[in-house]
Amino acid sequence: MMDRLRKLLCAFLLLVFVLPLAGCWDRRELQERNLVLAIALDLADEGLKPGQSQETVKAETFVQPTGSKRYRLSLQILKYEAKGAGSKGGGGQGARKTFVLSNTGESLFEMVRDMLGQSSRALYFEHMQVVIISEAVLRQTNLAPILDFFFRDAEMRSRIRVYATPGQARPLLEFKPPTGEPGGIYLNNIARNHVKNAHIGTARTDLGHIIQALDNDADVIMPRIDIQDEVVKIRGLAVFRRDRFGGYLDEYAVQGIRFVRGTERGAIITAPCPVHPGEILALELVKHETKLTPHVAGDDIYFTLDINMTGNLSEVHGAQPNTYDYKNKDALEQAFAQEVLANVSYAVRQSQTVGCDTLYFGSKLKAHEPETWKRVKERWDEIYPAISLYTSVNVRIRNIGVHR
């Protein structure tokens, strides 16, 4: 009996030891993978490497049985050597930490697989940070088909940032961040500053949220990123009607939208000084509560918005108003409230002009007034631009900083 047991055990142990040697199907060491940090999508005849000749362009592509050479896909890939050497101070700090590969074609997946012909190691997308799509591409096609690859692929994270850029997307991948971080990580991290910067519309606009919006038939918004010389900046939003590119909203509108959606945490509100006209004051928000409610009166649909804000007075230009006196403080609070009001209505106006429901009026209506929604759902595109919003703003100044 024991013999048998022993034999079984031996067989089992043998199996256990042999398995790792035989190569497990999905095992591939980290350093044997090429980490893709960012993807840029341009039109096929754009997004060339500076000084790239037509021959190399040909080398970069493949023969396509179906479809056309529509897009150019560029991948930003992490270089390991640069990083390892850098930490030892052995030079290479100034060197780029990434390199870019590109390819043309129509199916993103096909291009990616063909690029394995340019890469020494397998491409690995699980650490991807950023997708940048050029405006030209967006104008040509809808968003859903472009992003389909990212929705479908299991390697993608849903916290990937998606940016639209008015120029070409590839230069952004070639951009060398001043902080020394790898480019894709830098581009992703910029978006995290939305906490402090109300001009960045990156709250709830990552890949996961875009998918969600597309699934719900809602309008998509995505942050816009610009590059000019050595300056890279996120500013404003690209807005879509459903998934059709509709244009851009500027930073001021973004700030207004964020006031309505209540997604900002540390906005700066500037207002003209009530005491000294022509000068400006700045308020730093610390607390913010927003309530957007739909109302239906007969056929008329309107929204009310209550905003409660608490902030610290953080900059005063011109002569000092006496901030200790709360009569003056009331005037300042009023001025800021006025400004928020103006900002919100600007944002609403802009969004309605573009026709993008950036404020989620539709989903609010659906949630709170389902019956009305059912009625107007079909005509929503027509109704939306005409909907009015009544805003009441209450601003309180809590601190005035360490100087009056």
Binding site: R265, G266, V286, K287, T310, N312, Y324, Y326, K329, R396, I397, R398, N399, I400, G401, V402, H403, R404
Partner: protein, 368 residues
């Protein structure tokens, strides 16, 4: 049972320590601006005169206590003023302290929120402190006394020590002219300085807990006032000496601005205002714990309970909610003014009146 000595009694010197810890608190940072606003160049005179005035009042408190040994104000006020008025007057002080707790808590969370944090909600800061004060007030008096002494001897010297570093930036010329030109401001400053000395009224409650030793009460309380006066004058004089009067008027927290201007050459210590806050927080904690104890102990005596703990747990949330309500600048300011006025009225009218009435009653009793 087990406790060999309950240690609920204290000596006269311990009373002095309690007074100092109760009075020196938030006001070191919160009050100088207001005081300098009112009294200008003569702020230090206001403090000294104010200190003398409130010391006199505290002597009256001791005298009243001597007429009614082993009793606190909850018991003897009704006997002096009659039941209704006596209760109302103790209630007056109670309300003052209750609001003061909320005001100081709010002031603390504002300062901490402004200087140490960026995004942390002030409510969380306040809640943290409130929780610790509740834990302290839940202990018996002996333990609270122990805590007060411990923190007094560790934090106050630390605070003063850090504060003395400001002499690097001190310009005596800024104090000139030494004698104030504006006496109205000085008088107003005396009123405002109540906020700094506020808390000495706890004598009325604590006297029965003090046993008589070699040291006279008046002397011990005098020491306490001397110590407080020294700290406050030091704070105001240095604030003016470093920032000038105008400068100090223009900054809401002159104390912290003064200390942040200090640069210690050759050390790795920077941002001294954080260090000052570190020394300051325990002192405010003392004050808050003492206020909480005062209000709940008064309740206990009113309702003749054995234990003050249930009241701590009842009152603390209420006081915390009041603190949250005081969030707006306007309400906060008004609540501060309200407590100041209420306290002034109590100090300047109620206590002297109580003394006179008690004296008359006593004489009547002796004569009759």
């Amino acid at each position: 049972m087990g406790n060999l000595e309950r240690k609920s009694k204290m000596s006269a010197l311990q009373l002095a320590v309690v007074l100092v810890t109760t009075c020196v608190g938030g006001q070191i940072i919160l009050a100088p601006n207001e005081l300098i606003m009112a009294a200008g160049q003569g702020a230090w005179v206001s403090i000294i005169l104010g200190g003398m005035l409130y010391y006199t009042v505290s002597l009256l408190c001791i005298k009243i206590g001597e007429y009614y040994p082993q009793e606190s104000l909850v018991e003897f006020f009704p006997r002096i003023f009659g039941k209704g008025i006596g209760l109302a007057l103790t209630g007056w002080l109670w309300v003052t302290y209750f609001i003061l707790y909320a005001v100081i808590l709010q002031g603390l969370s504002r300062v901490i929120g402004l200087f140490m944090f960026d995004r942390t909600p002030v409510e969380v800061i306040g809640a943290g402190m409130a929780a610790v004060t509740v834990y302290c007030a839940l202990q018996d008096w002996g333990t609270i006394l122990r805590v007060l002494q411990l923190l007094m001897f560790s934090s106050v010297p630390m605070l003063v020590g850090i504060w003395l570093l400001t002499f690097f930036n001190f310009l005596p010329e800024n104090l000139l002219p030494l004698w104030p030109l504006d006496f109205k401001g000085v008088v107003k400053g005396i009123g405002i300085s109540w906020g700094m000395f506020s808390g000495y009224e706890v004598i009325l409650l604590l006297l029965p807990l003090v046993y008589r030793g070699k040291i006279a009460f008046a002397w011990a309380v005098g020491c306490a006032f001397g110590c407080m006066g020294f700290i406050f004058v030091l704070v105001v004089v240095v604030a003016v000496g470093v920032l000038t009067v105008k400068g100090a008027q223009n900054v809401p927290y002159p104390t912290l601005i003064v200390i942040r201007g200090v640069e210690l050459p050759g050390t790795f210590i920077e941002r001294l205002e954080n260090y000052l806050l570190v020394a300051w927080i325990p002192i405010v904690f003392d004050t808050l714990a003492m206020m909480l104890y005062f209000v709940s102990e008064t309740c206990r005596r009113w309702l003749k309970y054995e234990d003050h703990r249930p009241f701590v747990l009842l009152l603390a949330p209420a006081a915390f909610i009041l603190n949250v309500v005081l969030d707006t600048a306007k309400l906060y300011e008004q609540a501060g003014k309200l407590t100041n006025t209420m306290g002034l009225v109590f100090s300047l009218f109620v206590i002297p009146l109580a003394y006179i009435l008690a004296r008359i009653k006593r004489r009547d009793a002796r004569d009759g």
